[in-house]
Subunit: 352 residues, 4 copies
Amino acid sequence: MAGNTFGKNFTVTTWGESHGPAIGAVIDGCPAGLSLSEEDIQPMLDRRHGTDGTNSRQEKDNVKILSGVLEGKTLGTPISLLIGNTDAHSSDYDDLKEVYRPGHADYTYDVKYGIRDWRGGGRSSGRETASRIAAGAVAIKILNELGITISSQTTRNNELPASGDSVGGSVEISVKGMPAGIGEPVFEKLDAELSKGIMSIGAVKAVEIGCGAKVASMTGSTCNDGFILASTESLPEEDSLRKEEILTNAGKAGSHYITKKTNHAGGILGGISDGDEIILRAFFKPTPSISSKQQTVDAFGHETEIEISGRHDSCIAQKGAVAAEAMTALTIVDLLFENMHSKMSAVSDFYK
Amino acid sequence: MAGNTFGKNFTVTTWGESHGPAIGAVIDGCPAGLSLSEEDIQPMLDRRHGTDGTNSRQEKDNVKILSGVLEGKTLGTPISLLIGNTDAHSSDYDDLKEVYRPGHADYTYDVKYGIRDWRGGGRSSGRETASRIAAGAVAIKILNELGITISSQTTRNNELPASGDSVGGSVEISVKGMPAGIGEPVFEKLDAELSKGIMSIGAVKAVEIGCGAKVASMTGSTCNDGFILASTESLPEEDSLRKEEILTNAGKAGSHYITKKTNHAGGILGGISDGDEIILRAFFKPTPSISSKQQTVDAFGHETEIEISGRHDSCIAQKGAVAAEAMTALTIVDLLFENMHSKMSAVSDFYK
Amino acid sequence: MAGNTFGKNFTVTTWGESHGPAIGAVIDGCPAGLSLSEEDIQPMLDRRHGTDGTNSRQEKDNVKILSGVLEGKTLGTPISLLIGNTDAHSSDYDDLKEVYRPGHADYTYDVKYGIRDWRGGGRSSGRETASRIAAGAVAIKILNELGITISSQTTRNNELPASGDSVGGSVEISVKGMPAGIGEPVFEKLDAELSKGIMSIGAVKAVEIGCGAKVASMTGSTCNDGFILASTESLPEEDSLRKEEILTNAGKAGSHYITKKTNHAGGILGGISDGDEIILRAFFKPTPSISSKQQTVDAFGHETEIEISGRHDSCIAQKGAVAAEAMTALTIVDLLFENMHSKMSAVSDFYK
Amino acid sequence: MAGNTFGKNFTVTTWGESHGPAIGAVIDGCPAGLSLSEEDIQPMLDRRHGTDGTNSRQEKDNVKILSGVLEGKTLGTPISLLIGNTDAHSSDYDDLKEVYRPGHADYTYDVKYGIRDWRGGGRSSGRETASRIAAGAVAIKILNELGITISSQTTRNNELPASGDSVGGSVEISVKGMPAGIGEPVFEKLDAELSKGIMSIGAVKAVEIGCGAKVASMTGSTCNDGFILASTESLPEEDSLRKEEILTNAGKAGSHYITKKTNHAGGILGGISDGDEIILRAFFKPTPSISSKQQTVDAFGHETEIEISGRHDSCIAQKGAVAAEAMTALTIVDLLFENMHSKMSAVSDFYK
């Protein structure tokens, strides 16, 4: 495909330009019988929208479910999600119609397509993430049913930008309650698919798993996580749901389960989850839309200067954290389904 | 798929266990009429094999082309590549049959599949990279035909490991001669697909594009790369082939072309190549196989200790660099093909 | 995916239940720069809707383009198409909520999903074809730009059904102006992909290419189509656009081109188009919704009888013809794009 | 992909030219823990090879498993199958190097690729089916474990071809023990995927499901299969394994199960299996290689005549039946896996 679909078993196709009539997503492969309503999705869109003053676009993103749900339950058919574009100020962009904004995709879209929607960044706008976040909320609903939770912590580096400037930031994602055995070896490793998902968020320029880049300066004896046995009694309260799974996975160990004394690996070994907490980090560049003067070139090949007005977050990472949670959830649900036919005994049990 | 195929238009499927009779790869989607012989592939396998003393496995990997080539030209049909396993010392692994090596995939494979090939790591062995490197050499051949070149530089962090220990390292990949416009927006961004490809190499724990993690502590005014016009006269000699393309892309600029005064973005804007050098970095963990004693657990759920003998590189990054070049090439070729139908005018020109 | 997406390069994802708020389709991979508006799509929906009295559902299907088009040109981004459900009479289906209609998917959906939308057949309704027809109209627009045209002829077998009964029918599709070389060998043969597309239309139970089932009773000497040379002068007027292509394909033959003296093959040899007219046939079962009394079983496992009221076509094949044209167009566009990187020389020409 | 891979969850990639050193297949997605050896595959290759005098190529096709199996059990990793080409008589084809054989893919390959392997048909040879049959044997092994069996019956139409001529034929495939609920609605219907698989076999020109083309001349009241209840006591002996599944599917019916009084649908309703026998038919054209004189054109654009010598089956349908069984098995296994995550309750049960 031309890149607007994510996933193989639980797929999301997003569509829409920032200042068109609407944006949206279609989920295919959501299992039937999941409780789902707009109330499950709206809070995550509200988190993206922000209440911390970073977003000056006032519209609230209201999501509508157009298909795939009947009387509060998913049907197993595609779930079409629609979000109207109600607060687009296209005129803010009139001056930018034929100028290439630094740090943006204006130039590359023009080269690739020979045409671009200049209104608010069009398809390359950060607004697209609302679609994937809406779909991600459905994935999170599925994960929660299975006792898997995702959280994130944002670090806004360089706290105080000068006037008219912006700052970068980073996000750490944690996944708890993850069963061991998830991820396909070789090319569709759990960490490889997570990296793709996270790096597909507009402003991300680096992704780390576990200790990340630090591993390059470690030695094997410090980096390796030794396996140990732990008593199921010692499991944290929130992992009580995991006990049964843990015991199943490592049944040979009786009332103990196999775990690692450290987690430098970030919960992934050989591309497959090891049952430990999954830890990954995303690094976001500063918002490229800044109001201070910048040197650039226009579509006619003339050098020029640009000052970008309009409403822009001073740091993308806050919204980015919500998008990163969504991509993490979408990736994990996809691989959870894939894993269901890894063993012949599981297939036989299902169809017996 | 269950993860052993990479790519959509130029696909590679690898197969084989470290100590089985052979390993190999099948390429589907290689265009017809490319000059190709085993001599195009062998040097890259030799680079992986190493002549710097890091590899104590003595076998040389000889590749055979079993299909898809006739009289030195590709046929457009699948190219099957076979590499024999001639120097496997399975008995080295007898003691490891039922013990989970720290930092390895033994435990996760056992959980996922209920069975694993314990001989030399089986499918999870670094040996698998020989298959993808062989396929990558074909991708590089295609790129070279188009004037695109890939190089890498390895940094072996922590130069001197203690006896019985290993060290991590990092690799920087550079792609020169890249046309602008490559990469699909949203989920199949060039950087997203590169990240997936690079992170799918066994020991990689972090991937960076351009300035990478540093962007998180930059401001917009320093991170944004301003667009400028440059005279085609000033193009470096090695880019002379690019001139025509550059002029085409930015034809409106007359004898000048559009470029950026800096390249913090690493040659990718909005997921699409901008015509600049592509720069990415991969961070490799230390070789997990170390001979010093380690704490672990066996498959019966008993705590135990392990000392890993056998032949192992003290730093994976050297071989990893070759694998990273291969994955970069495979990703780019795949997206070069995808891009050919981005514009209706290109489709019309092709079929007129 | 779970089956709601068709194609690889030009993909269509359809969504929506018959009596939900709307149905729709998302096209990904449409090239940028194609002239497109709702007026290009609406006529094909109107043809489906019918003016021949076979359809008693009165709503007209009005399509809206929600994304991917700016000022009458496609942007290269996803095209979201929306069709409201304005004339749904769900109450007609109250009695059918827990009864399995013979010839319908009620029972199989219930087994597969444990839940189903009983209102008008839900997702399994023939109404879904409106979505794929809307997307197919875009594919036809592309084909027409390339000089390729699709037409169909419907045969309504058993012309006069008894009161309360329905009849089957067949459709013959013809594709003219098709370039040679389209279709991928082995599993993605042009005829294989066409068969999948056509057979995915609800009521189709057989597909034929060229002479179809008759080939089984032919001999090689009568079935083989001998190759001949024809003067480009003798080309039918409507094929004048093809001349250039034909000469290119068979340039060695001077002012003549290579063709076949007969076309038993239906324009496809070895899964690849041969430049001749493509001919295929689809056979539709009678509309399963009939008003005469039928024996069946309900969801509680009781035998019962059913009389289906409501508004139903007496013959599906008329609407089916429009759907078959759409699926043919979607298949061919997808493979036209795929073919663009079959030769290294074509790739080199594109990127030189 | 460029068409040499089949399936999504259980994928098969075939490779190899008829007169190259070998042909083969790589299976990805075979569950771990299946008993498998070359003895499971060889008999199906022997059936293809034929003992009925239709095949004059003397080589026996010996398959070797190069990966994915350890000590008689599948590992969950790719299974690489290799079949040597030991009896290739390339010199038989010297005269055909630059002549387009009627009914063959010589001309279309030349147009598409600008190059072709003229030795024995190269990639377009019927020999490719040996690869897919080998992979199909693995799929059949999986089906048999689940109590699903496939059989076929070949009708050789026009029994006695004239000397130097060939005849067509048809094959009917039956699948017994099929669970209900298999197949994805809309585009990946069970019948759509089966049609693609069957039509991808070289000489097939028509595919039918259930009553096939006859439905076009039926009425709804005769074509619809009424649902009935049957006592599980009355199940045929060979379906005893199905009883539990049947009762589960239709548990509400107590000791009875839901079935149909007729099976015009061929076991598929709305693209989903209904638990009944699956019936499909494939129609094969006569072997295009005939020794009697034929009119044709050469690659230089000259009209010429051709007499094809060498060893050719007089009827393809016998070998075709084995290929059709293989494609049926590959399709069904793929969709059986897909179905495992159709219900949220199944996902929850798996991961609880």
